[in-house]
Subunit: 210 residues, 2 copies
């Protein structure tokens, strides 16, 4: 009924943050659990039984529920984990490649990530409390990541400057949602097309300062 009964900070565990000393073995199990969940979800989809994940991680079912009270918490944790991985890829790519190349590679990376999560989309809008914060987190992490890449490429004069990163994120997501199984690289080409679109109008801005 009231929202006060919920943990105000969003309360999702992470293997990176050590909030209150977590016992060493517990930490090890948590990591194994997350890794196993990633693999199982990739193999059998998000509908895979909790027991299968527990077995793959080499722990008991009780351990799973100790770390993730609800099945949806596990899914949410994995999702967050992958959002982080995708967001963290941005600065890494930016350091290794020139701006447009980094931007291109990241968009492809992001597209591949979204394609994996197609079956998650329904759940996201199902009103489940466990997924409520995910949409916000998604934008909070990915929008700045893309924005930085866009700004670098724009500063180098390689692409246009009038593109909103949020629009671009959802545009790519839409592309991936409609991808057919019989066109494995359809999405890749569509994203490449988007990048070309970004380059096309690069000289259209004349209000550039300095």
């Amino acid at each position: 009924m009231n929202a006060e009964t919920k943990n105000p900070d969003g309360g999702l565990e992470s293997q990176d943050l050590k909030d209150r000393h977590l016992r060493a073995d517990a930490q090890r199990n948590l990591d194994a659990l997350l890794q196993a969940a990633v693999e199982v979800f990739e193999t059998s989809g998000v509908d895979a039984p909790v027991r299968e994940i527990a077995e793959k991680a080499g722990v008991g079912i009780g351990t799973v529920y100790r770390h993730f009270p609800k099945r949806s918490d596990l899914i949410a944790a994995v999702f967050r984990h992958e959002i982080d991985a995708c967001a963290d890829a941005a600065p890494r790519l930016a350091a290794k490649h020139e701006p447009v190349e980094a931007l291109t590679r990241w968009m492809q990376r992001y597209a591949a990530f979204i394609a994996t999560k197609r079956q998650l989309a329904p759940a996201l809008h199902s009103g489940d409390v466990a997924y409520e914060s995910l949409s916000a987190y998604f934008l909070q992490r990915l929008k700045p990541a893309l924005q930085t890449l866009l700004e670098s490429a724009a500063a180098a004069g390689e692409i246009r400057t009038d593109v909103d990163s949020k629009d671009l994120l959802s545009a790519i997501a839409s592309l991936c949602m409609s991808a057919h199984d019989d066109r494995p690289d359809h999405t890749r080409r569509m994203v490449a097309l988007l990048v070309d679109g970004l380059r096309y109008g690069r000289r259209s801005s004349q209000d550039a300062p300095s």
Copy 2:
């Protein structure tokens, strides 16, 4: 592997068609089952337990599975039933109201129908064989229904003539999918806006026959 093992006619039961004499009590149970399913799905959503529907219909679980071998068959049957109801509303409205009024009312009717089926959309694209034929049936029934209404209104010179009924169907569906719960009549106004859009360009066609 091969498609030949599947029933070639699509094999979905209907309370309207009497394929092979159905025993009187069986027919009664089938009707009660369908009605109960409609009510339960409305109340508790499509994820409602089969047992709940059986109880509401006053029959045993075995009876449900006699008529609908799979849970998805029940859902599909209800969906078909409601598609029929929506399609049948078109000629009824056309007989009772002037063309544009009939068109408006039907579009609102259709929008209300779609809004109810939001949770069904994921299942429709999940690849389940039971739902495969539904998309086709959906278009087969609804497109002609809308098209007739559109043509009547166009013939009366009340609306433009360059609107594809299929596009309009999916446009309304899209509107309903993005509807928020805190805006109950948002969809209604959006559909009304669509109707106004139809009226706006009414003089743009000059190739109207007879």
